[in-house]
Symmetry: C2
Subunit: 411 residues, 2 copies
């Protein structure tokens, strides 16, 4: 049995006309002999409307009931789309999260998938040509509807592809349709010669996604990586093949050093000055931040001098105020000299599995930025990524410089 998963977002199914275009894409694949699993989000605007309604009814909506309410959005879109398929003479039926079932933990609003029992689903796929599955929703251990958090439909699509693949002992491809025709070497709005990438590894995609390349939800990529699901990022509006997100192979590592340049404008740098350099000092700062769900990104500790050091870290703008409160508290407790912050900073990163085979990528990046008179404020690296914090007003120049340096510019 040839199976394909196609996922369409809210704007692709916003109204009847949009849904008819999506139907054409699905019918194309059916004509190729595929059994198709279509995963849909709620129609554009619908989820926001439901969220608004929940907060009209309650200042703090009961989380489980909130999920039951939100789940109606996808229930509506899958029922309507299945009607359209039936009208086209296709044997189709809808599946809601609880019907699959997509079993999750009990963390309402942000539930995580625990397991998918794909046996019955597969049986139904023998009877029907197309199954239209509600994205975003699951079913908890205590038999209640859950939702997977914003963008959870990507994860739903990858997860059902993984479950079907494992049930069948074969790869099941997952096509994620978006409003762009794939993953780019960087944001084409900032760097017009940016190119579409044909093939990218899960790890690179994770780094790109965590840097604000919003084409795929991070959790869906993690899921795809774990279960080795081939994911295609494609456009709803063209017939381009898109970008394949897949397992890293030797050809990818050897061909190019750097696959893309990513950036993140949502950075604020906070520095504690004159910190006594004692064991446990880092913990005394970062444990309270983590306890209050403040996500710390980059961390640098200056080399100690006379037993005194500076600690610098970055957070996103929305956490600035709270981070400062806790940091100032710790500052007093440990007898540091003071706290400063700078919200005019940004992060630029070069990403590529090729770095594992090619030395000198970091050196090339630093010297290119230096030649362009861009001052590096902080550095952090991973096996496949080098990130530099720079002044925000130099971001565009930095991205363009690195994009050119690593040979990513197209025609």
């Amino acid at each position: 049995m040839k199976i394909l998963v196609q996922k369409f977002g809210g704007s692709s199914v916003a109204d009847l006309e949009c849904m008819k275009k999506v139907r054409a894409k699905v019918l194309n694949e059916v004509a190729q002999g595929y059994k198709v699993v279509v995963v849909l989000s709620a129609r554009a605007g619908q989820t926001n409307k439901l969220v608004e309604m929940a907060y009209q009814w309650s200042d703090e909506p009961n989380p489980a009931e909130y999920d039951a309410l939100l789940a109606t959005g996808e229930q509506e879109s899958v029922a309507l789309f299945s009607m359209l398929l039936s009208d086209a003479g296709v044997k189709a039926r809808s599946f809601l999260g609880f019907q699959v079932p997509i079993l999750t933990d009990n963390a309402y609003n942000t539930a995580r998938i625990v397991s998918i029992e794909a046996g019955q689903f597969l049986q139904e796929l023998k009877r029907f040509d197309v199954i239209v599955m509600a994205g975003f929703q699951g079913y908890s251990m205590e038999n209640r509807i859950t939702t997977l958090g914003r963008g959870g439909s990507d994860t739903s699509a990858v997860a059902i592809a993984a479950a079907l693949g494992s049930e069948l002992g074969q790869d099941v491809d997952c096509h994620i349709y978006t409003d762009v025709d794939g993953v780019y070497t960087t944001d084409p709005r900032m760097v017009p010669p940016a190119k579409k990438i044909d093939k990218i590894s899960y790890d690179e995609m994770l780094e790109m996604a965590s840097m604000g390349a919003k084409v795929l939800q991070i959790r869906s990529v993690e899921f795809a990586k774990k279960y080795k699901v081939p994911v295609w990022v494609r456009s709803t509006f063209t017939n381009d093949k898109g970008t394949l997100v897949t397992q890293e192979d030797e050809s990818m590592m050897e061909s190019v050093m750097v696959s893309g340049v990513a950036f993140d404008k949502d950075q604020v740098r906070i520095t504690i000055l004159g910190v006594p350099d004692q064991p446990g000092i880092s913990a005394s700062l970062f444990v309270p931040l983590s306890d209050h769900d403040i996500l710390v990104d980059m961390i640098v500790q200056k080399a100690s001098r006379d037993g005194i050091t500076d600690m610098t870290y970055t957070v996103s703008h929305k956490d600035l105020k709270r981070a400062l409160t806790y940091t100032e508290k710790v500052c007093k407790e440990i007898g540091a000299q003071g706290v400063e912050y700078d919200d005019q900073v940004a992060k630029v990163s070069v990403i590529g599995v090729g770095m594992r085979n090619h030395s000198g990528v970091a050196a090339m990046a630093f010297s290119a930025l230096h030649k362009a008179n861009i001052n590096i404020l902080m550095i952090s690296t991973s096996e496949i990524k080098i990130s530099c914090l720079i002044h925000a007003d130099q971001l565009e120049k930095a991205v363009q410089t690195l994009h050119t340096t690593f040979g990513l510019d197209g025609e």
Copy 2:
């Protein structure tokens, strides 16, 4: 465990303000020590909106998907109402049809309840003070969402009361809240001295309901009768106890001959003239009508004369055109003389279990109508009902006359 089922219709939960009033009614019962099962319809207008949407998407919506779509209406209302209860500090949760589960046959759009497994529901009723159950929806043998047809929420409420009662071995009362404060001896808009009835038998209620007294759905009364569920018809807007619909007892039969006068304006009389009086003639007419889902109400065959007779029956206005078509066809086949119809007729009925003990009710009714110069066109009777077809313009006079004759007028 003291359990009570309360059912509220769409206008009672139309918006936040309405829902808060309903919440007060529920909290009242919780304060009395009841575990409450609240059964809700979709918010007023919501189901119509969803039906409209379905027909925008498809001229003939796939029935199962249509039900999945419509079921979002109740899902929305139970989630929102449960939020309100949680905010009031009440331990509450919603239950959808599939969660109970309310198992139905596979007749999408008009599914019938097959069984209710109330065990898990009852367990949850120990953990929660209030369970808010979606009315109107069930779950089919093939694991898909079904709906019970318009007004199905009444049936849902009675059915869950029956299932819980049987699980517990005790009566579970079911309160159906409406916009009237009970069942009346006749429509007070037509006969102002009409009185509220304190207690009425299931059979009487069935006759009243089938005659257009729209306070309860016929199916819910049938269900209540079968499982002996005490049903209270009450008003959302007052604290009146309402009308108890219950098993017939001796006191009811002895106290009054007639409990109510019902009427039905939706009648058309069709007559086939000059029918050869042969065995099988009735079947040759009524089988085709039944095959085409035309509901025939009253039937009268004139005494045969010279082997020739007239056959008269009534249908509702909406079926007139189709009924005429089939009847004219049969008329030719059997060699009858012709077909006539009269759409200016109406039916008036007196109803009461007391008729079983009191003779002469029919005679009283006929003579009262005669004295009022009302011509009787057709008569049909059952054990607890006498119906007369009359000219439509005499309906109001007929209802008033019978209401007075049988001592039903209030102060």
